[in-house]
Symmetry: C2
Subunit: 241 residues, 2 copies
C-alpha cells in the first residue's frame, strides 16, 4: 500500500472527519494564540532587529495557520467555528506563567509552543495523510523554536545566572504545559482517539508488527513522549530540563 | 513622456536613492508598529472571530512590509538598518493616547495609521515610479482601515454614547498624530524634500501647468491635506471629525 493510499480522505467516515476537524481546530487555535504571544514579545524586543525578526516569525506562523483552516473547509468543517471549543484554553496556563522578564517570555514561547506542537503532532499521526501533511507542515516548517534556540542558548551561555533562572523557569513551564495537555485529553475524546489511532498506525508499521509497538496511548504515555521531547529541546539551549 | 519613463530608477541620483530609502524605512517602521498594535488589539478582541480577523490583517500587513524592505535592498539601502532612524517614533504618541477601551484602541489604529499612511503616500509622490508603486501597494491594499470602518460605524450607530466618546477620542488622536508628522517633517529633511518633489510633480501634471498647482509643501499645507483625509475617514464612521 503506497503512502498516499494509506488512509485516503475519501475513505474517511464522518466521525473521522469530525475528529480531524477537531484536531485542526486545536492546531489553528494554538497557532493563533502563539501568534499573539510572539507579536507581543516582538513589540518588547530589546532591539529593532529582533522586533522585526520576531514579528516576521509571528506573521509567517499565521500564514501557515490559514492552510490549516483551508483543510478544515475541505473536510466540510467550519473554519470560523472549529476553534471555538478551544477558546480560552491557555488562559489558566497564561495566568500561572506570567513572565517577569523578556527572556522568560521568549522561553515561555519556546517551551509552551514546543509542548503544544508536539502534542498536536502526536495526535496528527491518527489523521488522514493530507490533513497530517498540513499539520506537520504548519508545525515543523521554520518554527520560532528552531530560529530562537540559538539566540536563547547564546544568552544563557554568556550569563550563568540567567541560565539557572531559565532552567528553573523551563521546569515550571513544562509542568504547566503538560497540565493543559491533560485537560485537553480528558475533555476532548476525539483528540484522545486520534492519539490512540496514531499509536496503532505506528505499531502496525513497526518491523516486529503490532505486538511490539509502543504502549497504549494513555495520558502517562503521552506525557512521557512530550517530556522526552522537552528534554531534547532544553538540551539544545544548554539548559537542564 | 510616458508614465514609466517619468522618473526611471536608473536616472535617480545617489541623493534621490538615499531619500527614497529614508521614506521606505519610515513606511516599513510604520507598518511594523501597526503590526504590533493590531496584533495586540487582536489578542483582546471581544470575539474569537474578531481575534482571527484582526490577526490576519496584522500578518498580511507585515507580509506587504517585506516587499518594502526588498525595494530598499534594490536601491542599495540596508533593509535591516533603514528603520533605525525611526525607532521609538511613536513612543510619545502612544504614551499620550493610551486607549481605555477596546473600541478606543481600534479607533486609535484607524486614525493613527490613517494619518501615517496618508503622510507616507503624500511623500511617495516624490519617489521614482517603482518605489512609489511599492509604497502605494503596501499602504492602500486591503488595509485594516478599509476592513474595520464598517465594524466601527455599526458599533457607533448602535450606541450614541460610544459614538460621542469616539468622536471626541478621534479629535484627540488626530491632533497627536499630526504632532508626530510635524516632528518627522522638521527632523527628516529628506522626507520634506520628497513631499515638495511630489507637489511639483502634481503641479507639472495639472492641466493649467505649474503656476496653478497646489501651494508649496509647507507643514501647514501637509496638515491641511492630512486633516481633510481624516475628516473623510471619520465621515465613513458616521462620526464628527
Amino acid at each position: 500500500m503506497s503512502d498516499t493510499e494509506h488512509v485516503s480522505p475519501t475513505t474517511l467516515s464522518t466521525v473521522d472527519h469530525a475528529d480531524a476537524v477537531e484536531l485542526l481546530g486545536l492546531v489553528a487555535y494554538t497557532e493563533l494564540a502563539s501568534f499573539g504571544r510572539l507579536a507581543g514579545d516582538a513589540a518588547h524586543a530589546p532591539t529593532l532587529r529582533q522586533r522585526q525578526a520576531l514579528s516576521r516569525l509571528a506573521a509567517a506562523m499565521l500564514d501557515r495557520q490559514e492552510r490549516v483552516l483551508v483543510r478544515v473547509d475541505e473536510l466540510g468543517g467550519d473554519s470560523a467555528d472549529c476553534m471555538t471549543a478551544f477558546d480560552g484554553l491557555f488562559d489558566d496556563f497564561d495566568a500561572r506563567t506570567r513572565p517577569s522578564t523578556w527572556w522568560e517570555g521568549i522561553l515561555k514561547g519556546y517551551v509552551g509552543q514546543g509542548v503544544a506542537d508536539d502534542f498536536c503532532l502526536l495526535a496528527a499521526q491518527g489523521l488522514d495523510e493530507r490533513s497530517r501533511a498540513v499539520v506537520v507542515d504548519a508545525l515543523t516548517q521554520d518554527t520560532p523554536a528552531q530560529r530562537y534556540a540559538p539566540v536563547i542558548a547564546d544568552a544563557a551561555a554568556a550569563d550563568p545566572v540567567l541560565a539557572s533562572r531559565l532552567a528553573l523557569w523551563g521546569r515550571r513551564l513544562v509542568g504547566e504545559a503538560l497540565g493543559v495537555v491533560g485537560v485537553v485529553l480528558s475533555r476532548r475524546p476525539a483528540l484522545a482517539r486520534l492519539v490512540a489511532a496514531g499509536v496503532d498506525a505506528v505499531a502496525a508499521d513497526a518491523p516486529d508488527g503490532p505486538g511490539n509497538g509502543p504502549a497504549p496511548a494513555t495520558q502517562s504515555w503521552v506525557f512521557s513522549r512530550l517530556t522526552a521531547e522537552h528534554s531534547r529541546r532544553m538540551d539544545r539551549l544548554g539548559l537542564a530540563a
